[in-house]
Symmetry: C2
Subunit: 470 residues, 2 copies
């Protein structure tokens, strides 16, 4: 079947009920999802144009577009500009297989660090690129300075002050090629100013920090982390000149650094003349309460704020930023010029346009419920199939941690999962210290869910349970 | 006057002659340029739509479009998508001022290092971006490896082998954020492998190399340069582990390294286990004979080829590349990952598309005659107004050097020019050695002409002559 005719539309959408309290677009989503799950809509089937379906259903076109977008984002549908919206191949693969006959070659990757690349707002990004290429002055295409194009520095200061509670002017913002470069630049500047030791959370995403510290001759010291974030007393004993923290959502354990700890970190940094690098890596995704404001707003004199679009738009854009105190801005800008003569101009201008036109907010509003539903699905599936596993750090972000029951070794679980085609990560690769606190030695897994449609999550958890049972 | 009516069109184009050996588009260009020079077409005047003018003149529309594009590129006309093509402000400013009354505030910048940003092929670049955003697989939007996207590595290997005579497979190509980053990565890798000393041409564009060498603890040694490029005997005595050369067009003096010197450099590098970094910075622009092939093709085992689009498309793209021998590819890719986790993906894919669709060749074909005419104008104006100055390095590139007559000090000339609103650079900032050879101590200026429409060049040279006279 290559087209959906009116009869099929009626068949698929039997449950559409205008008087229900469930929003109409959600009802359409559910009906289409069910039709895909049960095979009534098969891989490759075209859906009717949104305008036509809206007319047939007596709803506004926006309702249908929203439902389609949602299902595209979830991986059920595939949309090609200028062509039909079709049922995606992945959706069919992902349909629940009978429990007794797992699909051969099933592969679910709970890896962390990706956005849902299928949800990248290609059309809106292209609109921004078109405006930039039509309107940008010629001199923007030449070499720039080490800070970045003024349009983006202004737009980012506005956004970060509004959404992240920073205290930034455009003059404080410096554009980088992502967070890794931000760390590289700041570590280099700190080392040249006499820094000897950098402290990081333990566990942490130290794959950026440890090799860069080595490159610049800095010693790395790990600071224990619990459910409330970093151990500030350990920081105070650390003799560090630079500390890299994830105060709003500790990576990977998910803790939020409490206010008294934030203040203690700031007092420590001021007394010592140290730098605090705040890695605000996924602050945009907080599901169950209001987002936690950035530490930089508390103490812009000692806290350097670092962010990127890698967890919001796409890591492939390589777009990040630093908010710097005045005494660090000029040396970091010089280091940036020396490293690569400044970030690509057209992409910077496009992101500025994307921010100014409200597209970034719109994208985040669209993605938050998608990611939240994936998290909810993961939690529900874990509760059902692996009730002894204890989820943590679930309030925000694109991943969670599960603590394993006593007696289970994370390396063995990772290996068993791999044999069943499931990729998960343990915590060990992200730990620094040999002598480990009780919290550190606890065995756990990191489960990313950002680019897994809900059926894949369910499939993955069932396969994990089976791997443990077998 | 805000519109050009048919009568005016006829007035302006009185000399159009279909039987002439001069191409029709060139005749139209000349007529319009003259009309602007003489004030018949004034700043802000609209030109007729290309289709209408073509109909009135009985020529194909392509002829008119080509003439308009040419004059837009030269700065006479200004084109806004969806609107009229108008006479540009700069063209009127640049109209010859009476010799007795120099325009107050006249400003001509003979600075080097820019393309003509006004000629950036915005529409074609946007077409490539649109194709990429429509067609690229989702996973291209995630993190990539340190080498770059495969599409661009393949397209560049094809282009460089064809146009520059390199010997490269896609596997040898690594994408960087421009030449500066290429040097930074390679210098870091060389230093970590035990290199102690880097040799550069003297004079050279050492603003990239000297501070990077310092950053990595490398000593810098300068090698004398004459009209035939670098002094290979000095290289052989240099004890260098890495040498940065511009063999196809020495910067700034313009020499081409002869075949016997190239072979001697390769023998030296092989015997010593040293690396030759070939900075192929503007090889695409050679006007009077066939381009000189890249040294890398001669010895891909010891020569690293480095290029960028900064002198062809736009420096603001920050797109460059290295062609690396196998033993260097992996360490440089690791350094690239550590520096910034790889270059932006969409821009890389767009450049690959741009290459594959022939747009890069098309752009170069369009720009070569524009730059050549600017060079010819500069030479003609120098011969007329400053006959004692001796141009050198004129066969290629986007700049030339003029040797000053005995008794003239380059710093004094630079200062006198600045007082007359003319920016030129001396050679001193690009020299390394204190004890200077005769060639080195010779006083000279670097004159870039890449983004100066011909009237500005004429104005600038006249102002230089006046600055020296007064």
């Amino acid at each position: 079947m290559s087209k959906v005719n009116s009869q099929l539309v009626q068949d698929v959408l039997v449950e559409l009920d205008a008087s229900s309290s469930t929003p109409l677009h959600r009802q359409i989503e559910t009906a289409l999802r069910d039709a895909i799950h049960t095979g009534r809509l098969r891989h490759g089937s075209s859906l009717p144009a949104s305008r036509r379906l809206a007319t047939e259903l007596g709803v506004s076109r926006g309702v249908v577009v929203e439902a389609y977008n949602q299902l595209v984002a979830e991986g059920y549908l595939h949309s090609t500009p200028g062509s039909y919206t079709r049922v995606a191949a992945v959706a069919e693969q992902a349909a629940p297989a009978p429990a007794t006959a797992p699909a051969p070659g099933a592969r679910v990757d709970f890896g962390y660090g990706r956005t849902d690349a299928a949800s990248f707002p290609r059309a809106a990004w292209l609109r921004s690129l078109r405006r930039v290429l039509t309107e940008a002055p010629h001199d923007r295409l030449n070499y720039s300075d080490g800070y970045g194009v003024p349009e983006l520095r202004t737009a980012l200061a506005d956004y970060l002050n509004r959404a992240r509670g920073t205290s930034a002017t455009a003059g404080d913002v410096l554009i980088t090629c992502g967070f890794a470069q931000a760390v590289a630049l700041l570590a280099g500047v700190a080392a040249r100013r006499g820094a000897r030791r950098v402290a990081t959370e333990d566990p942490s995403a130290d794959d950026d920090i440890r090799p860069l510290a080595r490159l610049h001759g800095l010693e790395v010291v790990g600071l224990p982390v619990d459910a409330d974030g970093v151990d500030v007393a350990a920081l105070e004993r650390s003799d560090a000149d630079l500390v890299v923290l994830t105060p709003s959502h500790q990576w990977p354990l998910g803790g939020v650094l409490p206010a008294e700890s934030r203040n203690a970190v700031v007092r420590w940094a001021r007394a010592r003349g140290a730098i605090v690098l705040e890695d605000d890596y996924d602050a945009e995704y907080r599901y169950d309460r209001a987002p936690i404001g950035a530490m930089q707003g508390l103490a812009p004199d000692v806290v350097v704020h670092a962010g990127s679009v890698s967890k919001t738009l796409a890591a492939g854009l390589r777009l990040g930023w630093l908010v710097l105190p005045p005494h660090l801005a000029e040396p970091v800008a010089e280091a940036k010029l020396l490293a690569d003569r400044g970030s690509p101009a057209i992409e910077q201008l496009a992101f500025a346009d994307f921010l100014v036109h409200g597209e970034f907010d719109r994208h985040l509003r669209r993605m938050r419920p998608i990611y939240r539903r994936r998290r909810d699905t993961l939690l529900a599936q874990l509760a059902e199939h692996l009730p002894g596993w204890e989820p943590a750090g679930i309030a925000a972000g694109l991943h969670l941690v599960v603590w394993l029951p006593d007696g289970l070794d994370e390396a063995e679980v990772v290996a068993a999962a791999a044999r069943h085609g499931i990729r998960v990560a343990g915590l060990a690769p992200y730990r620094l210290n040999e002598r480990r606190s009780k919290e550190h030695s606890r065995q756990g897994l990191i489960l990313g869910y950002s680019d897994l449609p809900e059926p894949r999550i369910a499939e993955g958890v069932r396969a994990l349970a089976k791997a443990l049972a077998g």
